[in-house]
Amino acid sequence: MTRRVRRIFFLLSAVLLIAVFWNGYSKLPPVGALTGTYGDVVNAITVPERHITDAVTAVNFDIRGFDTLGEEFILFTSVMGAVLLMRRQSDEPGGDHEDRARDRVVPNPSDAVRVTALLLVAPTVLFGIYIVAHGQVSPGGGFQGGVILSTAPLLLYLSGTFGQFRRAAPQRLIAISEAIGAAAYILIGGACVALGGSFLQNLLPLGQSASITGGGTVVFIDLGVGLEVSGGIVLILLVYLEELMEEKEG
């Protein structure tokens, strides 16, 4: 298909798509006026019945915890796919891609950047753990906190060398902790079954609202997800940086 044909085909499809959008939207009330009962019910029960002050976390890890399990495993498999693809393969043609800007000088990060990055490592780890553990109280949880945690080794890379980054985050350890994080979700669900409930049923005492104990199992699932997300993202950073370094050396 030539580009011209493709563009015409796109325009025809776009007109069709706009018609579909128009048809759907014209039956919707304006933004802000929709009335979904489900959301209102969740808002009404989240504090009195689940002891969770952040309704978004209540939905994610308590009310529809099983769906989040599926979403977490999309994350897990795509990290696995990326790592597999970036691994040096035996039949891979090497050396046919040359650096076209060989004389380009890559400047070293300035001292100000290096010191700031190094100083930020510890606060970042603390902040990440805080966000992971307090998802049931205020906006946060395993997904957000995990991403914040994964920036800590990246700050180390920024303040030092790739070798230091690799020593601070050995690939094997990161892969294992990612797997533990992913397994924790299923194990928590399985433990609920073993205790006589249904999968991921919140059997722990619901604890105090607006505190770390609120929501029973939620904080444990959050910790598992936090470990998984931070491990997954650090693993991706590792394989990409490794690829870059090999290219530089080779």
């Binding site: 798509l17 304006p30 006026a33 979904g36 209102d40 969740v42 043609p93 891609h97 997904f143 993202i233």
Partner: protein, 117 residues
Amino acid sequence: MSELNYLGYVVAAWLFLVGLYGVVTSRNLIHLCICVAVIQSSSYVLLLSIGYRTGRPAPIFLTIPSNTPAVDPVVQALMLTDIVVEVTVMALLLALAVQVHKRQGTLDPDRLRKLGG
């Protein structure tokens, strides 16, 4: 201002179409990945537009009474996981692009040779 009340829906449709146009006409696989991200961000806008309730606060009952009507938390929860998953799926797509470049020496989808077995 009735037009403004549909703005969220219009922006979502616009992002979807713009991203799709980028995918269809792309000449570079990395550009194509970014276009996929643009398409995906249309789903964020659409979900937030659907969940929004005029004048209501965020569904965090820390400083507001627990019986306050708030915006819909369900779509926000959907979006939250979507964002993190998108990052890793993007990494997977870019890893594919890296492999294509290694094997074929080009990132232009039109210049790719047939897939080898």
